[in-house]
C-alpha cells in the first residue's frame, strides 16, 4: 500500500491527464492503469467557450484522488496562489509543487520549490514537490514537511528514463516519506527500474498519453510497476561472476 499523509492507495502508479488524443482514450487509459491519483493543471477558462467538454466530467471522482499541479508557476508565490485556487474547488487538498526554473530543460527551481513547500505545509496542504534528483534537496524538502518527494527520472516529457539511478537510490535510501519518481519515464522498463530501486510509486503522463496505443501502454505501465515492486520486495541477487544453476556433481558423462 502506498500511504501519503495518512491516505492509502492500492496503486503505485500516478497518472497525468495531459496530451491525450481525446477524453475517451484518456478515460480508458485511466481505467486500465488502475491509477488512483490523477494529476492535472489549473488554467484560465475561455469565457467565450466556457462549456467545452472538460476532462473531469467523464471521470468517477469517487474512485480517484486529484493531484493538481502548480505548472505555470515561476516562483513560490505563484505556486502558493495556484494551490489555493485549486483547493477552492473543494474537491482536492493535495498539491504537486511544480516550479520550472529552466525553460529549456523544464527542470525545477530548487530554491522556489523548497520555499513553496514550506509555505504550503503551513497552509495545511498535502504537499508533493516535484524536484530534481538531488539527494540533499530531497532531504531538505522532507524536513520542510513534504508528504512525499518526487524526484525526476529525466526532464519532463523527454522519455529518457532514469538518468541517475545512483542518486535515486540514495534519495530513496535516506527518505522517511514516500519517494515518487516523476517525469522522464519513457517505457515500462524505466518504470520497473524505478520500482526495483525502491521507489514507492511512479508518476508519468507522456509515456502513456503519447504512446502509439495509450490504453495498452497504460496496462503495460501498471504491470511494470507491480513487477518492479514485487522484485524490490523479493530482493534481487547481487551481480557477481557465474554460478551454476544445475548440480555440478553426478554428471553422467
Amino acid at each position: 500500500m502506498l500511504e501519503i499523509n495518512g491516505q492509502t492507495f492500492n496503486s503505485r502508479l500516478l497518472l497525468g491527464t495531459g496530451k491525450y488524443a481525446n477524453l475517451d482514450i484518456q478515460n480508458e487509459a485511466v481505467e486500465v492503469s488502475g491509477s488512483e491519483i490523477l494529476t492535472f493543471a489549473v488554467r484560465r477558462m475561455d469565457i467565450h467557450n466556457p462549456n467545452d467538454q472538460n476532462f473531469l466530467e467523464a471521470l468517477n471522482l469517487e474512485k480517484v484522488s486529484l493531484l493538481p499541479n502548480t505548472s505555470g508557476a515561476k516562483t513560490a508565490k505563484d505556486a502558493v496562489r495556484i494551490a489555493k485556487l485549486a483547493r477552492a474547488s473543494g474537491i482536492c487538498d493535495m498539491i504537486k509543487v511544480e516550479i520550472i526554473g529552466c525553460t529549456k530543460t523544464l527542470l525545477p527551481d530548487p530554491m522556489e520549490t523548497l520555499k513553496a513547500t514550506e509555505e504550503l505545509v503551513k497552509e495545511g496542504f498535502t504537499v508533493l514537490p516535484y524536484t530534481s534528483d538531488d539527494v540533499v534537496l530531497a532531504r531538505r524538502l522532507e524536513e520542510a514537511g513534504a508528504h512525499a518527494v518526487m524526484p525526476g527520472a529525466s526532464p519532463i516529457g523527454s522519455g529518457q528514463g532514469i538518468l541517475n539511478p545512483t542518486n535515486l537510490f540514495h534519495i530513496i535510501d535516506q527518505a522517511n516519506v514516500p519517494i515518487i519518481v516523476d517525469a522522464g519515464i519513457g517505457s515500462p522498463a524505466d518504470a520497473a527500474l524505478a520500482m526495483e530501486l525502491g521507489a514507492d510509486a511512479v508518476l508519468l503522463n507522456t509515456a502513456v498519453s503519447s504512446a502509439v496505443d495509450p490504453v495498452k501502454m497504460a496496462k503495460a505501465m501498471k504491470l511494470a510497476i507491480e513487477a518492479g515492486r514485487l522484485g524490490y520486495e523479493a530482493g534481487r541477487i547481487p551481480r557477481r561472476t557465474a554460478t551454476a544453476s544445475s548440480p555440478t556433481e553426478n554428471i553422467s558423462i
Binding site: G16, T17, G18, K19, Y20, Q26, T39, F40, A41, V42, R43, R44, M45, I47, P50, N51, N54, F55, L56, L66, P68, N69, S71, R81, K84, L85, A86, A88, S89, G90, I91, I156, G157, A183, L203, L204, N205, T206
Partner: protein, 67 residues
C-alpha cells in the same frame, strides 16, 4: 460596467451584481470553476455575496489535463 476578466476588458450589464450572477451571465456551467475576485480566492459559497464594481479584476479558472 467594465470588468477585467482573465485579462480581457468585458462590458457587463449593470444588473449583474455578484460573481454568481456573472457566471450565469457568461453561461458557465462548469461546477468546478474557481474564481478570484480582486485578488481574493472565493469559496463556492462566497460567489453569491461577492459584489462586482466597475474596474474589478476577476480570474475564472478551471482544471485541465496536465502532468
Amino acid at each position: 460596467m467594465r470588468i477585467l476578466i482573465n485579462g480581457n476588458h468585458i462590458d457587463i450589464p449593470e444588473q449583474v451584481e455578484t460573481v454568481e450572477q456573472l457566471s450565469a451571465h457568461l453561461q458557465i456551467a462548469n461546477p468546478h470553476m474557481i474564481v478570484e475576485h480582486n485578488g481574493d480566492i472565493l469559496t463556492k459559497s462566497a460567489h453569491s455575496t461577492a459584489k462586482l464594481a466597475d474596474g474589478d479584476k476577476v480570474e475564472m479558472v478551471q482544471f485541465v489535463g496536465g502532468g
